[in-house]
């Protein structure tokens, strides 16, 4: 999956353009400062409506999206994704949250975000995550991996390409990520390439987004805090 977007204005090769969507000005400026030199911040937005406007106008590679946002119909980050997708956006979304609540996280992931990180993430880590998202991969924090394991179960193993269960390999990958392993460490641990790890994580993300498993939503609703 190539992220090069012909509509994006001139940018140096290797840099990734982002828009930061968060209702706290202090956090936006802090994040802007924390992002590495390879990240080019095209704009900021504080509400659902602003985000929609800015994202469609600038078409960034990645949108750093707060889960909780004022405006719109109260749908927060998930609503921004829905609106932008309806307008044919090619941007990818990375959810940022302080809430840690499974309900919020699962909602925004199922809306189409390709990853989820907590706001306490460090500068180099967020830079790394943005680049990963830009190249089409999914970004799973240990906590998100924990959600996935909790929601899909730790013992169910999919046959074929079942959406409602994880394959044995995917389970292993999720477990290691939940234990705090990076993709590279996971690859080393399982004797597979980082690319394969990324493939597995993307497959899990797809399952998380597409699974019609009704338990998933119910589970998330029941689980207010993690």
């Amino acid at each position: 999956m190539d992220s090069d977007n012909p509509r994006v204005h001139e940018q140096a090769p290797g840099t990734v353009s982002v828009v930061i969507v968060d209702d706290h000005g202090i956090f936006r400026s802090g994040l802007r400062a924390a992002l590495g030199a390879v990240i080019d911040v095209l704009g900021e937005a504080a509400t659902v409506e602003e985000a929609e406007t800015v994202i469609t106008a600038t078409a960034p590679d990645v949108v750093l999206l707060d889960v909780h946002l004022p405006g719109g119909h109260g749908g927060g980050g998930a609503e921004v994704i829905h609106r932008c997708v309806r307008r044919g956006t090619t941007s990818r979304f990375l959810a940022l949250s302080v809430s840690d609540s499974a309900e919020d996280v699962v909602a925004v992931i199922r809306a189409g975000a390709r990853g989820y990180v907590t706001k306490t993430i460090s500068g180099p880590e967020i830079t790394d995550a943005v680049q990963r998202i830009a190249s089409g991969d999914a970004v799973f924090s240990p906590r998100l991996a924990g959600f996935v394991l909790d929601a899909f179960g730790t013992t169910s193993v999919a046959v074929d390409d079942e959406l409602d269960r994880l394959s044995a390999r995917e389970l292993e990958v999720m477990r290691l990520i939940a234990r705090g392993y990076s993709y590279k460490e996971t690859a080393k641990e399982l004797f597979i390439s980082v690319k394969t790890v990324e493939t597995h994580v993307s497959a899990v993300l797809r399952k998380l987004q597409l699974s019609s498993r009704h338990e998933l939503t119910r589970w998330a609703t029941e689980r207010k805090l993690l």
Binding site: D100, P142, R143, G146, D150, R175, A178, R179, L225, L226
Partner: protein
């Protein structure tokens, strides 16, 4: 007859069962007094089985003695032969006869007494197996003195057929269960009945305490009082009729129906208040509605019959229609007003709830967040302090905002979270806990948590970076992984006398049937703890 009342009475009085039955039948023909008496005994005199159950429970909280209409001159007696009590009588039996059944060890002598004001029963320990009774009329309350007991034992032989009353308690067995006393005087005239009764049990403690007696009388079941009063009223009416007064039944019955309905509906109020006090809103709502409906129907029916006292159906129906029409009209007029009143009430209540919540939140924020922010401003120059304060506050706030009250604080995941928080505070490095599944804390899980804590402390202390903790509790095994990305260390370089890892982690896990291993390299260190779960026999 039906419920063994006669048999019980016979046993109690010490006369032949058939005589009692004949008496009952005669009384029944005497304008139905026998039926009333029978029903009354049936309802209020406990069965031998009840009694036994009571004795087993020893929990009878209140004794109730009710003396409306008691004949002051009534002779009471109680007591029973142990052997007698043991025979196959089932169902209801005379009060005095109760104790034989209630107490496994047999019987003790007992005494019954009727105080002049109405009733008193007293219970005295005495030799077992003696048949005893006491003439108990107009006795001072000091009756309960043990000396009387001896006296009662000695008079045990006498039997008085015209009255029963009494109370009994096992003395020999020492079971402090309580008393059952009941008395019925079937007056010698044969046509009147006077009734006194005593039911329920009470603890032997406080038996001799007059205050306890008063309390008991007051706290005794309201239902019993009501019912007893109703019964007595009915009996009184029967007596009056028997004495030749013309009783207007067409008037009395509707009145009785109305009264019953009203009592039923009003008892709802009491019930509601009780429910509120006990804070179980919504409980028994169906029962309450039923009760209200039944009360309404009774009252309306009663009023109707009273109005159309002729009892003619056509008239009754006409009245019914008229009444319903009036009610509907009034309802139509009052409904909007009532609805508005109800809405206002609801709005006000909701507003109050919101206000309370807001106040609670403000109080919480003031006590926690504002204080922390002030502290942070004070220590702005110390980065570690600021970090620590911010992290502790975040954790606390998160706990407050998202904590699920249903979550068990005694669970393994919660325990690990609390430990992680403490270690975070102490060493200033973030410790993130991810839990999949959960386990109830038992001795083995507790050991697992302790071992995990040791691993977390080691990681925070030596690695000096962020620590990840992952708990996975499956049906067969519980695993905990504690990982850091510190510089790592050479396992073989750790001196053998360092107890930390060996004792606190490896041995602890091994003692509880678990295992542990540790891996350390340039990527960091990871401690893995595994605890197999025993197969639950009940699962």
């Amino acid at each position: 007859m039906i419920a063994g009342v006669c048999a019980g009475l016979a046993v109690h009085l010490g006369i032949s069962r058939s005589w009692v039955r004949v008496g009952m039948v005669i009384l029944t023909f005497a304008s139905g007094a026998g039926i009333v008496l029978y029903a009354w005994l049936w309802i209020f005199v406990p069965t031998a089985a009840d009694r036994a159950a009571e004795a087993g429970r020893k929990s009878g909280p209140a004794a109730f003695m009710h003396g409306v209409g008691a004949d002051p001159g009534l002779l009471t007696r109680s007591g029973d032969r142990g052997g007698n009590a043991g025979h196959g009588r089932a169902g209801r039996c005379g009060p005095g006869g109760m104790h034989g059944r209630g107490v496994p060890s047999g019987v003790s002598a007992s005494s019954g007494s009727g105080a002049s004001s109405g009733i008193a029963g007293s219970v005295l320990p005495s030799d077992s197996g003696i048949r005893s009774g006491i003439v108990g009329s107009a006795l001072p309350s000091g009756l309960h003195a043990p000396s009387r007991a001896a006296g009662s034992g000695s008079t045990g032989g006498s039997s008085t057929p015209d009255g029963v009353a009494g109370s009994s308690i096992p003395g020999g067995s020492g079971v402090p269960d309580g008393i059952m006393g009941g008395s019925t005087g079937t007056g010698s005239a044969g046509s009147t009945e006077t009734a006194t009764h005593a039911t329920t049990t009470r603890p032997a403690v406080g038996l001799l305490d007059p205050d306890a007696w008063r309390d008991r009388t007051v706290s005794a079941g309201r239902r019993e009082i009501l019912f007893g009063t109703a019964m007595l009223l009915a009996a009184a009416v029967l007596v009056v009729q028997l004495l030749g007064v013309d009783v207007n039944w067409g008037f009395l019955v509707p009145i009785a129906v109305v009264a019953t309905g009203a009592a039923l509906a009003w008892s709802q109020l009491d019930e509601v208040r009780r429910a509120r006090v006990m804070n179980r809103a919504g409980a028994g709502r169906v029962g309450g509605t039923l009760r209200l409906l039944a009360g309404l129907v009774l009252v309306i029916a009663g009023v109707l019959v009273a109005l159309s006292s002729s009892g003619s159906w056509t008239l009754t129906v006409a009245t019914l229609v008229a009444v319903l029409a009036v009610l509907a009209g009034v309802g139509l007029v009052l409904a909007p007003w009532g609805l508005k009143f109800w809405r206002d009430l609801e709005t006000e209540r909701a507003g109050r709830v919101r206000e309370t919540e807001r106040a609670e939140m403000a109080a919480h924020l003031h006590d926690s967040v504002l204080q922390t922010l002030a502290l942070i401003q004070n220590r702005a120059d110390s980065e570690t302090d600021v970090l620590r304060l911010a992290r502790a506050q975040e954790r606390e706030l998160r706990q407050w905002l998202f904590a699920d009250p249903a979550r068990d604080p005694g669970s393994l995941a919660e325990r690990l979270r609390v430990m992680a928080g403490e270690i975070e505070d102490r060493y200033g490095h973030p410790v993130a806990v991810v839990a999949v599944g959960d386990a109830v804390l038992g001795p083995a899980e507790d050991a697992l948590a302790q071992a995990a804590r040791e691993a977390m402390v080691n990681a925070a202390k030596h690695a000096g970076v962020a620590v990840s903790v992952y708990l996975e509790a499956g049906p067969e095994i519980v695993e905990v992984f504690v990982r850091d990305r510190g510089p790592g260390f050479d396992l073989s370089a750790v001196p053998a006398d360092r107890l930390g890892i060996r004792e606190s982690i490896h041995s602890r896990m091994a003692r509880h049937g678990g295992s542990s291993d540790l891996r350390s390299d340039e990527d960091g260190t990871e401690v893995r703890l595994r605890l197999p779960r025993p197969v639950r026999s009940d699962a």
